[in-house]
């Protein structure tokens, strides 16, 4: 094969790879059964950095803000021990997760969930079929960070009691 034939082959292979890549993204998303342990988090504050570093926007420090975001319909995620985030799309048969009280009930808790895992375009999505265990809230980081943001804990709290 001469140099021009080789170059042509490389170009054709590259073009094929590109189009194959496109066609793969067109394929249906396949699911895999999983068991995931992680903390229920507010994805917006964690990913955007709007309230500060990641260590401050999880756990007790961020609990109230996480409730605000969940009530606001911002997707809730499970942050596992490897730092992977799974966007929760369904919780125990309830698909109304954009307005779910049940998901607010477990906000900031470390749960073990069984369900179906979908990956598309780099994002992990989770259909939670069952929450098989909860360790409750385990990250008491308000001891280090206070409330994040500060106005998520009332000023003059004691005088209002």
């Amino acid at each position: 094969m001469n140099i021009y034939s080789r170059l042509f082959s490389i170009a054709a292979a590259s073009a094929f790879a590109c189009f194959t890549n496109v066609s793969l993204t067109l394929a249906a998303t396949e699911a895999k059964p999983v068991e995931i342990k992680g903390e229920i988090i507010d994805t917006w504050c964690y990913l955007s950095g709007v309230m500060g570093g990641q260590d401050a926007v999880i756990g007790t420090a961020h609990h109230t803000c996480a409730l605000w975001c969940a009530a606001g319909g911002i997707p809730v995620g499970v942050l596992d021990e490897d730092g992977q985030i799974y966007m929760v799309l369904k919780l125990k048969g309830e698909d109304a997760v954009a307005k779910s009280d049940n998901i607010m009930e477990i906000q900031s808790e470390v749960i073990t969930a069984k369900g179906m895992h979908y990956v598309r375009d780099g994002v992990n999505y989770l259909i939670v079929e069952d929450v098989i265990a909860s360790d409750g809230i385990t990250n008491f980081n308000h001891e280090d960070y206070g409330s994040v943001p500060p106005n998520s804990f009332p000023k003059n709290f004691l005088s209002k009691q």
Partner: protein, 197 residues
């Protein structure tokens, strides 16, 4: 180099160029022409593109609901340019508002959107979207993606009052009354206040 070889080389280079540019276009830059406001967020990039509005559950699993779940399900965008499913986390408002109320009127329709891609792609493998402006594909005028708070007020007439919605929201109030501001109960709140206020 003979004329035949020159033609062959030029053709080969052209094909290689197409392949490379296709690959690069999949890595994408959709910032041209964006009028999105900057927020100073993690790795934020202005991004305007055409897309189809989808119910995420339906798109991923085939479990579809009428009208994309009527506001109860999370929604996303399938971008025309590369068929990439974009997870939309936020609308253009400042106070903890998701995107569903702004996307819902366009369920399964083609739209143009403008906003910000955010998040560290090296850490998370992708970025996520904050939609600030939306319109039906090809329409002249943009609509601000700021419907959430008005929709909340309509759905929660009993919560009418002064102050931001999230301090009056019955669902938030219920959780805080039950578990406190840190989720650890009322005593933990009292202890924190005594030590810090």
């Amino acid at each position: 180099m003979s004329i035949l070889k020159k033609i062959t080389f030029a053709s080969t280079s052209f094909l290689a160029g197409i392949a490379f540019s296709t690959s690069v276009s999949l890595a994408e830059d959709f910032s041209a022409g964006s009028k999105a406001k900057e927020f100073g967020l993690e790795e934020e990039v202005k991004s305007t593109f055409s897309a189809k509005v989808v119910d995420l559950l339906c798109e991923l699993t085939g479990d579809c609901a009428d009208n994309c779940g009527d506001g109860n399900r999370h929604m996303g965008l399938v971008r025309d340019a590369d068929n990439k499913l974009i997870t939309v986390l936020k609308n253009g408002q400042f106070s903890f508002n998701g995107p569903v109320e702004d996307l819902l009127p366009y369920c399964n329709k083609k739209v143009d959107v403008d906003g910000l891609m955010i998040g560290d792609p090296e850490e998370f493998g992708t970025q996520f979207y904050m939609v600030q402006l939306i319109k039906e594909e090809g329409a002249a005028d943009w609509n601000k993606a700021n419907k959430w708070t008005k929709a909340w007020a309509k759905q929660n007439p009993e919560a009418k009052g002064k102050g931001p919605w999230f301090r009056r929201d019955p669902r938030v109030i219920k959780q805080i009354e039950a578990n406190g501001y840190f989720g650890l109960g009322h005593e933990a709140d009292v202890k924190y206040a005594k030590e810090n206020q």
